[in-house]
Amino acid sequence: MSGDSILSVDRLSMRFGGIVAVNDLSFNAERRKITALIGPNGAGKTTVFNCITGFYKPSSGAIGLTHDDGHAIRLERLDDFRIAKLAKVARTFQNIRLFPGMTALENLMVAQHNALMRASGLTFLGLIGAPSWRTAEQAAIDLATTWLDRIGLLDRADDAAGNLPYGDQRRLEIARAMCTEPALLCLDEPAAGLNARESAALSELLLSIRADQGTSILLIEHDMSVVMEISDHVVVMDHGVKIAEGTPKHIRDDPKVIAAYLGTDEEEAIAVMESGT
């Protein structure tokens, strides 16, 4: 686990009252790589996400993020919006959270809020319509247009986000996260509810984001075809603890992982594997 990691989760624990959702979890996510966090339902994956993105304050442990220029930030000390703003961590949600009454384009404009606030001189320059603001606004529209084009929604730019089909909403949410120009993109089950064709398109999109933007990606996913196809590194959780990690191929053959998914003990899993192959 050496190498250049952008995110390092160190002995993270999260307790809700008496329930331990995440227990002493440590893993790293490497720069410009796709790291997948998998595990059965209730394993604590989304809780980890919420800790990383600041929606929960971890009970203990440290979450460090290192930017390309070597600037290191302790995420567990920041508020949620500051993590997105300063640490440049963007996220999507398991149950899509777009702004349904705003158009696809507006959704992507809201994502550029902080950059645009500066450009509008905290609103005052914008109010008088200063030329510098107009240029910045046009640039923001251009960036949004580029992303709409990449996710194939350019012709629906002016439609309300809430009117888009499910698969389009998923892609729009990713594009919205990318419009914040993040260093780390956290995706919570991006392939959930997608059909095979849409899943394939999603894989392609994520690979192109890694290749073109150089964004590091951390994703939670249940769709193993997506995980196996695109991830560079897989971390497996069950009952709040890490039970395995490694390359997709390595994980696929790990009896502990299979046992966790099948809910059986290890010997049985090995038997299943052997009989299956």
């Binding site: 703003k85 777009l98 349904p100 809020h113 606030m117």
Partner: protein, 439 residues
């Protein structure tokens, strides 16, 4: 009339069904009104309570309820099932949105001409000023409720702060209206921030009740801090506004004398009319402008989904505060205008009733729609004036109208939202998709 078989069958037992339903309504009415209407109490001259019966009135009301429910039921059956009622207004709504583009300029042009057309009708001018004041208040509150989705039940507090700021600064320090106007706005915004800072992390109805409490606190302080505010007697002798220093008085230095025309008290009314029109249009212009700026878009995003906003790095606390302060500032401007127009203010003008009225204007207008708010203010205030002659029945009718209007159009008159930025076509978004906010 309807192809729906269910609708056909439901019509069959109509006569008996209607009669039964109306009888039940009449019976309910009889019990409800038996003591409240059938018996009238009053304290006699010696303080002793007496009562007398009004069975005639009671019978009349119960009969009216009976007849009324028969009519309503007949109307419902003629109209068809409730669902078709929604289909009918669809083309109407289409026509409305088409006319909507025309309504705004026509309305604006007409408003500009009101003082010319009705120069001799003081009553209409006064009513116009009143309507415009509420249009401005509605537009101000619209920033908070309609755009940012924060439920504010104490908006009148900022109106009061603005009014008292001008009144006290002008009467105590002799500052002119044009200096006090921005000050009143700033002070109101300051109070908005002061209240907003601790409470804006509350959600939904908690925020509503805290703002309501704040409005009441301000009113109670105005009543009780007699040395500063004059208590229930209020502040009198508030200076009238000047045209940038030129008073609108009959004297030699007055505007009429300077222009060489004959003085008329109507000049001041006309001046006040254009003053509030200018202030309202300023509010409108700023709001429309802000909507297209990142801050305005963040307000609307906040209304749609606060969690997503935070995930995008938007500081929701400051965003809410700016919405609160902006709305409060406009309320403060309107308050200063109110004070200079009336020449006298007292806490009685700043009751919860005012907050409810302005909120009703915003919600009835269709949350976030500038035109809708203007139309709703016209309808509510104008309609309220129609019942002036009815005196004590006025508020009763007003309350009923509020209930009926909400049932008729829960999402307001203008049921769609205009996007703030577009690539190719600007298409209104149905309000069914637009969220109403949680705070």
């Amino acid at each position: 009339m309807s192809a729906n078989p269910a609708a056909q069958t439901s019509r069959a037992p109509s006569a008996a069904f209607i009669l039964k339903k109306s009888l039940i309504s009449a019976l309910v009415a009889l019990v409800l009104f038996s003591l409240m209407i059938g018996v009238r109490t009053e304290a006699g001259p010696d303080g002793q309570l007496t009562y007398w019966t009004r069975f005639g009135d009671l019978a009349a009301i119960v009969a009216a309820v009976f007849g009324g429910s028969i009519l309503i039921e007949l109307f419902r059956q003629w109209w068809g099932p409730v669902d078709t009622a929604r289909i009918v207004p669809a083309p109407v709504q289409g026509a409305l949105s088409l006319a909507g583009r025309l309504i705004a300029p026509v309305l604006l042009a007409f408003t500009f001409l009101v003082p010319v057309l009705f120069y001799d009708e003081r009553y209409i001018l006064d009513l116009g000023i009143l309507v415009l004041t509420y249009v401005m208040l509605g537009w101000g509150l619209n920033v908070v409720v309609g755009l940012a989705g924060l439920l504010d039940l104490g908006y009148v507090a900022f109106y009061a702060v603005g009014a008292y700021s001008y009144a006290l600064l002008a009467t105590n320090f002799g500052l002119s209206f044009w200096i006090c106007l921005p000050l009143a706005g700033i002070l109101a915004a300051f109070w908005g921030v002061l209240l907003g800072f601790p409470v804006l992390r509350l959600r939904g109805d908690y925020l509503a009740i805290v703002t309501l409490a704040f409005g009441e606190i301000i009113r109670l302080v105005l009543i009780n801090w007699q040395s500063l505010t004059g208590g229930p007697n209020g502040v009198t002798g508030i200076p009238r506004p000047t045209l940038f220093g030129i008073p609108l008085t009959p004297g030699d230095d007055g505007l009429a004398a300077m222009l060489g025309i004959e003085f008329s008290p109507t000049h001041r009314i006309v001046f006040l009319f254009y003053l509030i029109l200018a202030l309202a249009l300023l509010t409108n212009w700023v709001t429309i402008r802000l909507r297209r700026l990142p801050i305005g878009r963040a307000w609307e995003a906040l209304r749609e989904d606060e969690v997503a906003c935070r995930a995008l790095g938007i500081n929701t606390t400051t965003t809410k505060l700016t919405a609160f302060a902006t709305g409060a500032m406009f309320g403060g401007f309107a308050g200063a205008f109110f004070a200079t127009r009336q020449g006298f203010i007292s806490p009685e003008s700043f009751t919860f009733h005012e907050s409810a009225l302005v909120l009703a204007i915003v919600v009835l207008g269709g949350m976030g729609s500038q035109l809708g708010v203007a139309l709703a203010a016209l309808a509510m205030i104008g309609g309220f004036e129609l019942f002036r002659g009815l005196d004590q029945y006025r508020m009763l009718v007003f309350g009923m109208a509020m209930v009926l209007l909400m049932i008729w159009r829960p999402r307001g008159l203008i049921g769609h939202r205009a996007p703030t930025v577009f690539l190719e076509r600007k298409e209104a978004i149905s309000s069914d998709l637009v969220k109403e906010g949680h705070g």
